[in-house]
């Protein structure tokens, strides 16, 4: 445990390495990291709790930390390793004194002494240790110094009695003792905390709560003023404790850190540098991710065709190749983007820059019901909504976080690019505005701008409906700039990708298989008809043997359940200008938006050339609408499709992640509902406006 920004995660990474996994505290959206290490044949499991300044929770989610340590917690730790920042000892010790008063065996890891030295702070470790009556082990979480001593101290610890820092009895003696007599809390301070937090605690039932309420009433318990008094008292105790332990030449922030801040939060340069950093980030993500993604794509395609060639041609094989392996491929192909995105986010956080971004963006964001901290997820959403939603954890205000989660998927994610590329290529003329800006490039930019504007607008509307239950504070520490700890970056990449694969992966796989079944099976007569029709065409010489294969696939798709579904929703999508063929593609792209292109290729019987978008475009251009006898893909239809894809909530992974982050079916459904509605009406409007009938 420890304050935010003290190097807790670095130490955790050092101790647990690859054994760590990210999970959730049951029932809430707070993250829990767990791992383990082995020392002299003892296996020690370690849980990393969110950084906090004191045991008084600022939100119902932070209550989880307090509950974790409470008397009836099922996961009570055997020992608490408290990480302190040597440059900020006074404030860091507040948490320590509270934890100590709860009676847990403790070990202190004193981190960042090198930083403290530079700021002119020197610490007498031995003296500190004897005053606190707790082992104090200097460490450098960056390079691993002191790691072995920590492992030893934690494993071989012999608990020693420590004096209380804060006498809970002083303010309300009988209150604490009475609570103690009724609940099995371990000491007076624990009883006091129970009194403070009983309303929000997850581990108490209604009967307990009422009992506590009665006791508190009896003693006229004034929570807030008590808490203030306690905090002030603890600080004066800490002040005395630190006399002679800490010697300071007046602390100053390193000169260059201050200078950097002047630039990065400047009126103009601040926003400019943010924009530049964003551009660099996205360029890097798109270009670096492309190679691994292509490799994964071809790897899976190769595996699929190889399997098809060696295994018998039956349904089971198809399930394995087109269903399961394709589904898996669809999950794994996200990993390069997710890993890279989190790498960048972690770098920005570690360096301290992220705090500055939130600082300069807060006022703007608030106009739209968002929070300065919403910047991270919104920006990440342009690469991929899945890691973006996962990163909403930085927003501590429940309502702001909810709104951010609701609107982030509107930021046009990279999966929509293939769809946009094909459609824009189809309906937007080539050529350049003023000889420089290509129309097609501008059209692409327009799709992003529409996405961003709609996200902001949606947030604004949501903010009118969802009221603030808790007042949101923006008190945030701006840490000193430092070089990112690369180990942490790599760890983040690894753990985040793992979370995605295991959690969203399950959902995606299930639905991929479902879609495969829908697309491969159909009423048997329909399927047989398709086969006979194609073989007749081959006999009559209308189709060559090679083309027959593609034609068969296309006919089968039409006759399958997916095809039937497509035809049945046709009346609903006709006002948008679509026919059943597009309908099928809309359904299948629920697996992943890129699947749209692949499905269209199959429907239009493009065969093995389906990766070549030019071929796709040509085929689409030639398609005639049977009702109007004119080209099917008019600008109206194309634009309508583009708008549909900008707004539609189609990505299963996103839906799965939204559920994981909100733990609420209601909100997941609302998100799906409003986005689908936006997509439908937006596409409808565009279609009409552009003269479609």
């Amino acid at each position: 445990m420890g304050n935010p920004n003290v190097g807790k995660s670095s130490l955790f990474n050092q101790l647990t390495g690859l054994t760590q996994k990210i999970g959730n505290f049951p029932g809430v959206t707070v993250e829990k990291k767990e791992g383990s290490f082995v020392f002299q044949n003892h296996k020690i499991s370690v849980t990393d709790l969110p950084g906090t300044y004191s045991l008084y929770p600022k939100s119902p989610d932070e209550q989880v930390v307090a509950d974790f340590l409470s008397y009836n917690s099922t996961e009570k730790p055997d020992l608490i390793l408290c990480v302190l920042d040597a440059a900020n000892l006074k404030r860091n010790l507040l948490l320590f004194t509270q934890l100590s008063d709860l009676g847990y065996p403790m070990v202190i890891a004193l981190n960042m002494q090198d930083v403290a030295e530079k700021a002119g702070i020197a610490i007498q470790v031995g003296l500190l240790q004897s005053r606190l009556k707790c082992p104090v082990i200097p460490i450098n979480a960056r390079n691993g110094e002191g790691l072995n001593e920590i492992k030893a101290a934690v494993t071989l610890m012999e608990p020693e009695a420590r004096p209380s820092f804060f006498i809970a009895d002083e303010f309300n003696p009988s209150l604490a003792s009475e609570l103690r007599s009724r609940f099995a809390v371990q000491n007076e301070y624990a009883a006091l905390l129970l009194a403070h937090q009983y309303l929000n605690s997850y581990s108490l039932n209604e009967k307990d709560r009422q009992e506590i309420a009665q006791v508190l009433n009896k003693y006229q318990f004034q929570g807030k003023s008590l808490q203030a008094a306690e905090t002030i008292r603890r600080y004066s105790l800490i002040h005395e404790l630190l006399m002679g332990v800490v010697s300071v030449t007046p602390p100053q922030r390193p000169g260059w850190s201050v200078q950097l801040d002047k630039v990065l939060t400047h009126r103009i340069f601040g926003y400019l540098s943010f924009l530049v950093i964003l551009l660099v980030m996205f360029q890097a993500i798109f270009s670096w991710a492309t190679l691994p993604m292509d490799l994964i794509d071809s790897g899976f395609t190769y595996a699929n065709s190889w399997l098809k060639s060696v295994l018998p041609d039956n349904d089971l094989t198809s399930l394995l190749t087109d269903g399961i392996i394709s589904g898996l491929g669809g999950i794994i192909i996200f990993i390069p983007q997710i890993a890279l995105l989190f790498a960048f986010i972690t770098i920005l956080e570690e360096s301290g820059y992220m705090a500055r971004v939130m600082f300069i963006m807060d006022k703007i964001m608030r106009r739209f019901g968002l929070n300065g901290r919403s910047v991270v997820p919104l920006v990440s959403g342009v690469a991929c909504a899945v890691p973006a939603l996962m990163s909403t954890r930085v927003i501590d205000n429940k309502r702001d976080r909810l709104i951010t989660i609701m609107v982030t998927p509107l930021m046009s994610c990279s999966a929509r690019l293939p769809v946009f590329a094909v459609l824009i290529g189809l309906i937007v003329p080539q050529g350049r505005l003023w000889g420089v800006l290509s129309y097609q490039g501008l059209a692409l930019m327009a799709t992003y701008v529409i996405g961003i504007l709609s996200a902001i607008g949606a947030a604004y509307i949501f903010s009118k409906f969802i009221k603030q239950k808790q007042k949101s504070f923006f008190i945030m520490e701006l840490p000193i700039y430092q070089v990112p700890r690369w180990k942490n970056v790599l760890q983040a990449m690894y753990s985040r990708s793992l979370v995605f694969v295991t959690e969203a992966g399950k959902v995606i796989l299930a639905i991929s298989i479902l879609l495969w079944a829908l697309a491969s099976y159909g009423p048997s007569e329909g399927m047989k008809l398709a086969e006979t029709k194609v073989s007749q065409q081959v006999e009559k010489g209308e189709l060559t043997a090679e083309a027959a294969d593609g034609a068969l696939q296309s006919a089968k798709l039409e006759a399958s359940y997916a095809g039937i579904l497509g035809k049945s929703i046709e009346p609903a999508i006709k006002p948008l200008g679509y026919d059943w063929k597009i309908g099928i593609a809309l359904i299948t792209s629920f697996a992943a938006r890129e699947v749209f292109v692949g499905t269209i290729s199959t429907i239009y019987n493009i065969g093995s050339d389906s990766d070549n978008t030019d071929t796709v475009k040509e085929k689409l251009r030639k398609e005639i609408n049977p009702e109007t006898d004119r080209p099917m893909y008019t600008p109206a239809v194309g634009a309508s499709l583009i708008v549909f894809y900008i707004f539609a909530m189609q990505c299963m992974s996103t839906i799965a992640t939204t559920f994981r982050e909100t733990k609420s079916w209601k909100w997941t459904a609302i998100q799906f509902g409003y986005m689908t509605a936006m997509a439908y009406f937006g596409a409808f409007l565009v279609f009409r406006l552009l003269g479609g009938i």
Partner: protein, 75 residues
């Protein structure tokens, strides 16, 4: 001083000494972070649009919104 001076009244570079807080919840948060009555704080700079602002206290930089700053009374 006729009206109480708050952090919000400080200009960049100016110092003040904390006297107390107008908002209980806010006070709890700030106390925790080491902003105790009697401590000097320096107004460091403000964000481009004037809000939030950044203050230096006890060697740390803290950011807070203008409305929060208005609730911290100075001597």
């Amino acid at each position: 001083m006729a009206t109480p001076k708050t952090i919000a009244d400080l200009k960049p570079g100016e110092t003040g000494i904390i006297k107390g807080f107008n908002n209980e919840e806010l006070s709890l948060k700030l106390l925790e972070m080491g902003c105790l009555p009697g401590m000097p704080i320096i107004m460091s700079h403000s964000a481009p649009l004037g809000c939030p602002i950044c203050i230096s206290v006890g060697g740390c930089l803290l950011s807070m919104r203008k409305e929060e700053a208005e609730d911290v009374v100075l001597q």
